[in-house]
């Protein structure tokens, strides 16, 4: 059984103006569909990555996985427990303790007035767990030193702070860590340290990751399975080799083509056409059709369902 199973997950935000403004300006309520009917599964001890451009719904899915946001419809089940619907408090607590999240900005996510020791053990202390020597052990596990426990966050570099965030995430011995752009704010050299650490921990502790990123090369490097999002919809899913060697959705193809490539000196990329549409008024049918070179009438009329195509899943009427 998969550790995580996400089914028909949808999240809609009410982005209406205050009612008085609506009254004066004669506007209707406005809704933004950040995540629309997304389904996928994450097997234990694997890395599942979500890629997609800004606003595609990656963080919103991550937050629903850890329970920071409630789905509008659909479900997230972790070890078969649906956090939004389960009524047994003990079950919820047990599952909660199994999931942690790491954010993009290691500067914003650490309390500057707390010592590193207190930051790291906080998730455990909050549940009344045993914390003696825990911070020191975890610091060594993430490649820092036990002596660092008494220091403050500002005494560390960006990469070191991200290690502290990872140490904190590990404190409650989670099985699943949701990483929202964990290396986007870091240099390549520091990114290498963090990515290596993450894969070591995965092997040593049997962790499972949901890895959120817009960097395709990083995703290719770290993932066992990749889901591509466009405007809140999952458009393709495959193992990285399959996805990168044989992308099937025209959007995936465009993304891969546009991504800068180290080996291709002076490559002239035909610049991608169009802009990401307004999520409040998404296009009909397939959300990608206004930019798609293959678009046909059916693409404007009907939203494509996920279907199997060779070794991948793709939501496209035209993909062959």
């Amino acid at each position: 059984m998969a550790l995580v199973s996400v089914a028909n997950l949808t999240r809609i935000f009410d982005v209406s103006k205050p009612w008085l403004n609506r009254l004066i300006e004669r506007r209707k309520k406005a809704y933004l569909t950040a995540v629309s009917d997304v389904s996928f599964e994450i097997e234990e001890k694997t890395v599942y990555s979500l890629v997609g451009e800004s606003g595609s719904g990656k963080s919103t899915i991550g937050k629903m996985l850890v329970g920071l946001q409630r789905p509008t419809s659909g479900s997230v089940k972790i070890r078969d427990v649906d956090l939004a619907r389960e009524t047994d408090a003990a079950k919820i607590d047990a599952v909660r303790a199994d999931i942690q999240m790491i954010f993009q900005d290691p500067f914003a996510s650490l309390n500057p007035r707390w010592r590193v020791r207190d930051i790291i053990v906080e998730p455990v202390a909050a549940r009344g767990g045993e914390t003696k020597g825990l911070a020191e052990k975890l610091l060594e596990q993430v490649g820092l030193s036990a002596r660092d426990a008494g220091k403050f966050p500002h005494e560390f570099s960006g990469g070191q702070r991200q290690r502290i965030c990872i140490a904190r995430a590990l404190a409650s011995e989670p099985r699943l860590i949701v990483c929202d752009e964990p290396t986007s704010a870091l240099d390549v050299s520091v990114q290498a340290q963090v990515l290596n650490l993450m894969s070591d921990l995965k092997d040593d502790l049997g962790l499972t990751y949901l890895f959120i990123s817009h960097d395709l090369t990083v995703v290719q490097h770290i993932s066992d399975r990749v889901g591509v999002l466009y405007l809140g919809r999952l458009v393709e899913e495959a193992a990285p080799d399959e996805l990168f060697d044989d992308p099937k959705h025209p959007y995936t193809q465009m993304l891969l083509e546009a991504a800068p490539k180290l080996g291709e000196f002076g490559r002239d990329v035909p610049p991608p056409k169009g802009e990401i549409p307004d999520p409040i008024n998404p296009p009909t049918g397939c959300a990608y059709h206004p930019r798609c070179p293959l678009a046909a009438d059916i693409c404007k009329a009907e939203r494509p369902q996920m279907r199997e195509l060779r070794e991948a899943k793709v939501a496209c009427h035209m993909a062959k």
């Binding site: 390549v188 290719q220 800068p260 291709e264 000196f265 610049p271």
Partner: protein
Amino acid sequence: MTQSVLSIRDLTVEIPTRHGILRPVDGVSYDIAPGEILGVVGESGAGKSMAGNAVIGLLSPPARIAKGEIHVNGKRIDHLKGDAMRRLRGKEIGMVFQDPLTSLNPLLRIGDQLTETILAHLDVSRSEAEKRAVAALDEVGIPGAAERITSYPHEFSGGMRQRVVIALALCAEPSLIIADEPTTALDVSVQAQIIALLKSLCKERGTAVMLITHDMGVIAEAADRVAVMYAGKLAELGSVRDVLTTPRHPYTDGLMGSTPLASRGKKRLHQIPGAMPRLDNLPDGCAFHPRCPFAQDTCRADPAPKLSDGNGAACWFPLSHAEAVA
């Protein structure tokens, strides 16, 4: 040989502090030819932005140019002050920063900002300036330029705003553009559009570009030559192909090794041990030696040699490609 658009010689920026003088840019020399894109890379804090800001006269005090010369189209500019510098900026040097909102006035319509900039730098009538403003927007690929001219910055998406900034940087037809992380905040598809735009402008108009970025992939695709900075100094300078495929400085080699690559598969990434030293705590000898796998006694004792004739690696023992880690 054609004259360089930008020529920097021994540029040194100093910041006086209570604990002594810091040198975020220390003895940097390079040229950019017409139509050439020079990529500037290096870890955070290496001094890339400081060097760019020194050229456009935007160092914030107490940072100041302490030594060296900057020439633009043969004219020395490093000692220019106030108005003279402001006139040069915009007229001969255009700027594009990471956050387009820092370059745009949120209260002014896009068209007015462009027109004012053109009028300030070019000797044309207002109606001609307005015409050129539309042409500039059109050139950077804003659809319906003639209508969009009355829009405010917040009415554009991030990628379109950055295009407006480029239009703004270009409208006075400068010969040099300094682009500091122009695509870092943008999506890959928008990044590809902006890079393609910079490249075509460079080719068509012969504009010289200094492209500061962390992204080695962007450098490979866009730059002709690349300058690698470390702790305020140039570590390596050369053609983009040479520097990226056969780096001679162990620092460049380390950076390349830590970059995830499709061809490298899932192999562990190379890690450069340690971190870049702080400016107030630079080691003796070559600043990279504590992190360098090949460091010897010379490296610990003597500052790294300068780049000879603006090429190669500032290293006592440059790599000859058998021993490279990557």
